[in-house]
C-alpha cells in the first residue's frame, strides 16, 4: 500500500483515538503536533502496538535506532520517521 505522509498522519490519529489507554488522556484532542508521551495518550506499550499497526498497514519495518526521541513521540514526527524509512527501503531495493 502506498500512502502519503498526510494519510499516515490521519491513520495514526485515528488509531490513537481508538486505542489510547482509558484515564491516560487528559482530553481527547489530538493533532499532528500532539506529543503522545507527554500527554499520556500512549505509553511504551501503546507505542509498540502503534508501530506494529503502522508496519502492518504499510508492509514496511520502522528502524528506530538513532532516532531523535523528541521527534518520535510527536504524531507528525513519527510519521516523518516512518516515511523516511520507507524511502530508504525503496532506494535500497532500486540499487540492488
Amino acid at each position: 500500500m502506498t500512502m502519503s505522509e498526510a494519510q499516515l498522519v490521519d491513520l495514526v490519529i485515528n488509531w490513537v483515538r481508538s486505542n489510547h489507554r482509558p484515564g491516560n488522556s487528559p482530553n481527547g484532542n489530538i493533532s499532528p503536533d500532539t506529543d503522545l508521551i507527554a500527554t499520556g495518550m500512549l505509553d511504551s506499550f501503546g507505542f509498540i502496538d502503534l508501530i506494529m499497526f503502522i508496519e502492518s498497514q504499510s508492509g514496511c519495518k520502522i528502524d528506530l535506532t538513532n532516532i531523535d526521541p523528541s521527534e518520535f513521540c510527536i504524531v507528525k514526527g513519527l510519521c516523518r520517521i516512518f516515511m523516511g524509512n520507507r524511502l530508504n527501503d525503496l532506494a535500497s531495493i532500486r540499487t540492488r
Binding site: 484515564g23 505509553d43 511504551s44 507505542f47 508501530i51 528506530l64 532516532i67 526521541p69
Partner: protein, 276 residues
C-alpha cells in the same frame, strides 16, 4: 553508549540474580509489591488431595517457606527459578525441609514430568515470560487432569501513574529503540487478552481470569525499595546516564505526592483454575 549487558541472554534473569541479596530487604518486603505478594499468598489454600505442588518463579523461596509448614506431611513441593542467585537463596532458606526441591527452570521450561502437578501457583512472575504461548502449553503439560492453579501477575495498566510520569525520562535517556525493547521484556495483558491466552489450553468454568486495581501510597524511599524488581529494564543505560536518569525519575515521582503519599496502582491479573 551501551554496556556489556548487550550480550546478556536475558537481562531480567541476569539482574534478578545479580541483585538477589537485596530482594529480601525490608524496604522491598514492606513495599506495595511486598504487600500485594503477601495478599496473593494469603489467598492460596492447599487442598488435602494435593501431592505435588509447584511454585513457578519461586524467587528466594519466601512463599514456600510459609506454605510448607502449614501443609500436612507427605506433600511434595517444587520451586523453580531461573535466576541462579535467587535459587541459591531459596535452597539456603528451605534446606531443612526435606519435602521441598528447588530447581532451575521457567514457565517455558518446567523440569517436571507430564501430568505430574496437582497444584501450580505463581506470584508476580508470569509477566516476565518471554513466550506466553509456550508458557501456557508448558503449564498445561505438567498439570494433572483436574489440577488446580493460581497465577498472579501484573496487567496492562499496572503502575500507570509512574509510567506516565517516567516514560518521557526513560525515552530521553534510552532512546525509542531501547525503550520499546525494554517494554517488551514485560508482558502486560488486558483481562481479555489474558483470558484469550489461557483459553488456548483451559476452558470455562474451570478457568477464570479476574482483574483488580489497588492503589498503594508510600514515600519516595518506600517506592524506591522495590526498584530492585525492575532494574533489569535499565541495564543498557550507561552508569553515568543511569545516575542522572534515576535522579530525574525521583524528582518526577515526587511530583505525584499527595496528602497520602505517592500513589502506585497495581493492576493485578488472577488466573484461576479449579476442579469443576
Amino acid at each position: 553508549m551501551t554496556s556489556p549487558a548487550l550480550e546478556l541472554a536475558n537481562p531480567i534473569i541476569e539482574t534478578y540474580s545479580r541483585l538477589a541479596e537485596h530482594y529480601d530487604d525490608e524496604r522491598n518486603l514492606r513495599s506495595c509489591w511486598g504487600q500485594a505478594s503477601d495478599k496473593a499468598l494469603g489467598s492460596i489454600h492447599i487442598k488435602d488431595h494435593s501431592r505435588l505442588i509447584l511454585d513457578v518463579g519461586c524467587g528466594t523461596g519466601r512463599a514456600l517457606a510459609r506454605l510448607v509448614p502449614r501443609t500436612k506431611p507427605g506433600v511434595q513441593f517444587v520451586g523453580i527459578e531461573p535466576a541462579e542467585n535467587m535459587r541459591n537463596l531459596a535452597v539456603s532458606r528451605l534446606h531443612s525441609l526435606p519435602n521441598v526441591q528447588i530447581r532451575n527452570g521457567s514457565f517455558e521450561h518446567i523440569p517436571l514430568e507430564t501430568g505430574s502437578v496437582d497444584y501450580l501457583f505463581s506470584i508476580f512472575a508470569f509477566h516476565w515470560t518471554t513466550d506466553p504461548q509456550a508458557a501456557v502449553r508448558e503449564i498445561q503439560r505438567v498439570l494433572k487432569p483436574g489440577a488446580e492453579m493460581d497465577l498472579f501477575f501484573i496487567g496492562r495498566d499496572n503502575g500507570r501513574e509512574f509510567i506516565q510520569k517516567t516514560t518521557p525520562i526513560f525515552l530521553k535517556h534510552m532512546g525509542p529503540a531501547l525503550l520499546l525493547e525494554s517494554a517488551r521484556m514485560r508482558k502486560q495483558f488486558t483481562r481479555e487478552a489474558a483470558h484469550g491466552l489461557f483459553s488456548n489450553a483451559f476452558r470455562a468454568p474451570e478457568l477464570s481470569v479476574e482483574e483488580s486495581y489497588q492503589t498503594y501510597y508510600d514515600t519516595l524511599e518506600g517506592h524506591w525499595g522495590w526498584w530492585v524488581r525492575i532494574e533489569g529494564h535499565f541495564m543498557r543505560i550507561s552508569a553515568a546516564a543511569k545516575e542522572q536518569c534515576d535522579q530525574e525519575v525521583k524528582t518526577a515521582l515526587l511530583g505525584l505526592a499527595g496528602p497520602s503519599g505517592i500513589p502506585y496502582t497495581i493492576h493485578q491479573m488472577h488466573v484461576r483454575l479449579r476442579r469443576s
